[in-house]
């Protein structure tokens, strides 16, 4: 029975971190530390001395891990960046999911594989959810602005809601702009004019 893997997940978003941790725990026996703050990241990881560090590929502090990966003093454990070694499929999946993993050299491939597979699917899932959430939020914001612009037009020109929307749409088409952009310009202008 091998000892549980020690994994550090660097992830500021608590929901995403929870999803990753749950997935990893289901997949295998491991001890997980989530680091949300990037302050003193290097020291905190070094103290923990994990087998695997998982971090968002675009995390601003990822370069700190490159430094850890290079450390090779007598007390340091050799760490390698995972994405390249020997498994192009897994690498591509990791990159697409936005995941980078730093792994202690000598970790058994099958144990690593399970961790990375799980992490990849969780990263991909939460990235997609985040993108969808952003899109939904943006759509809602735009809807609000368009409604306000319609209101302004209805009041200023004494027209109905459908007519106000048609006017916005026609203007947007004429100017090759998005309706939301035209609406925003109108709302701003109306605000300035009082």
């Amino acid at each position: 029975m091998p000892s549980p893997l020690s994994i550090v997940v660097v992830e500021p978003d608590p929901d995403r971190a929870r999803s990753i941790v749950d997935g990893l725990r289901e997949a295998q026996d491991c001890e997980i530390l989530v680091i949300g703050e990037t302050a003193a990241l290097s020291r905190r990881i070094a103290e923990r001395n994990p087998d695997v560090v998982l971090i968002d590929i675009a995390h601003p502090s990822r370069d700190v891990l490159e430094e850890l990966a290079l450390a090779s003093g007598p007390l340091d454990r050799p760490v390698a960046m995972f994405v390249d070694r020997s498994d192009p499929e897994l690498t591509r999946a990791a990159i697409e999911a936005g995941l980078s993993a730093y792994v202690v050299a000598g970790l058994r491939p099958d144990r690593l594989r399970a961790v990375i597979d799980t992490a990849v699917s969780r990263f991909a899932l939460t990235s997609r959810m985040r993108a969808e959430l952003d899109a939904a939020r943006r759509a809602l914001e735009e809807r609000k602005v368009i409604d306000r612009a319609k209101g302004i037009l209805m009041k200023a020109r004494g027209i109905g809601e459908d007519e106000a929307y048609a006017l916005l749409r026609r203007t947007a088409m004429d100017q090759k702009r998005r309706i939301a952009d035209v609406a925003e310009a109108l709302v701003t202008a109306a605000g300035l004019l009082g």
Binding site: A39, H59, P60, S61, D63, V64, E67, M81
Partner: protein, 391 residues
């Protein structure tokens, strides 16, 4: 016009300017290509994107292609430095507390004398200094600077990796006491009232190659036409950028949200060489604070790569001779000649030189006979001979 698309990755730094302006001012279209800029938040990510073919080219820390040729750092691939994007452009800075200690001991912050600054820093306690990446001109400058001084003694100086946009925050949080970082992030630390500037990078090495235009060798070989067009677009943008009348416009363009997303006044300091070194507003003029074009700034001197390779080999315990050969081979002065000679670049007669030997503006043999090299001395007067084993 729409030619082939070329994706180019960059980090938000003043020295990304030649790439950013090549696109913003349509030098790319004039060369028959279209640059798609990809802003990336960290150097390892950009290096991976380049290696995995997700961007065609990148603004890259000059020592990174050399380090990769030496087998250092995560990924394996042959990445070439096609040209130098910028020379100098870094600042060394200290926390306000440390600056206060140094001033109390009578140090004048002349922002020029690297030996005096080193002595003044060495007179304080242990220093934790942030640099952006383990393979960076910053790292090499800092190590070169402290060698043989009290700061090189065990436990006196710890060098940490801190991404440029987080440098001021790390200083404010007391995680580091000092930094070496590319502009405008040093100026931003001053602007935010958390740091003071000690030296420009140029005070340590007068002509330090800082960023290069990097491309995977197989890509550059597959499409030499695209590599050449990209190099010419970037080279023309660099020439535009270095025209003094264009500085204010350049700073405005770089300040855009998609590029650096910072105040143009802060960006303009390095471009004009007029540096504000402390929150009290003290001003210091620096010749060649950052250079993009004049004096063959873009030419990748093979001796520069040899210098990086020998320094990296020494610190990482590699065979120096083999490292020098491997590292120098990725520095493509041949491609620079091939693609930029016909475009009008004044090409030096030699591709390698003694580094640090130019003390005053010096005319040298070149294809058009008008090449004048600016001073490139090291702070201690040392000269690096790429043929010799010393570095």
């Amino acid at each position: 016009m729409s030619g082939p698309r070329v994706s180019v990755g960059f980090l938000p730094l003043t020295d990304a300017a030649p790439v950013l302006l090549a696109q913003a001012l349509h030098f790319d279209a004039a060369e028959g290509i279209g640059i798609d800029l990809v802003r990336v938040p960290n150097w390892s990510h950009l290096r991976d994107l380049l290696v995995l073919g997700q961007v065609d080219a990148a603004q890259m820390l000059a020592p990174v292609p050399v380090a990769m040729a030496l087998g250092l750092g995560g990924l394996r691939a042959v990445v070439d430095a096609l040209m130098v994007l910028s020379v100098n452009g870094n600042t060394l800075g200290v926390s306000r507390a440390l600056a206060g200690q140094m001033r109390a001991r009578g140090f004048g912050f002349d922002f020029a004398d690297a030996l005096a600054a080193r002595d003044a820093l060495a007179a304080t306690g242990p220093i934790r200094l942030g640099v952006p990446f383990p393979f960076s001109t910053h790292m090499e400058l800092v190590h070169r600077w402290v060698e043989g001084s009290a700061l090189a003694a065990d436990g006196r100086l710890a060098v940490r990796t801190v991404p440029p946009p987080l440098m001021a925050a790390a200083l404010a949080a007391g995680e580091i006491d000092a930094f070496c970082v590319g502009e405008p992030w040093g100026s931003l630390a001053v602007e935010q009232g958390v740091g003071e500037l000690l030296l420009p990078g140029a005070a340590i090495w007068g002509s330090a190659p800082e960023k290069v235009l990097a491309m995977r060798r197989d890509r550059a070989e597959e499409r030499p036409d695209i590599a050449g067009a990209l190099m010419r677009a970037v080279w023309r943008a660099a020439a535009w950028l270095e025209t003094p009348d264009h500085r204010i416009t350049a700073a405005e363009l770089l300040a855009q949200p998609d590029f650096l997303d910072l105040a143009p006044e802060t960006i303009e300091r390095a471009l004009s060489g007029q540096m504000v070194i402390s929150p009290a507003g003290e001003l210091r003029g620096v010749p060649r604070m950052i250079a993009f074009h004049g004096g063959a700034a873009g030419f990748p001197w093979r001796s520069q790569a040899t210098w990086f390779a020998r320094r990296l080999a020494r610190r990482h315990g590699l065979d120096p001779g083999a490292a020098a050969a491997a590292g120098t081979a990725v520095w493509r002065s041949d491609l620079y000649r091939r693609h930029l000679g016909p475009a009008g670049a004044d090409l030096p007669a030699a591709s390698s030189r003694l580094e640090g030997a130019v003390r005053v503006l010096t005319a040298v043999a070149s294809s058009r006979g008008r090449l004048i090299l600016p001073p490139d001395g090291f702070f201690d007067g040392a000269i690096f001979d790429p043929e010799a084993a010393e570095c």
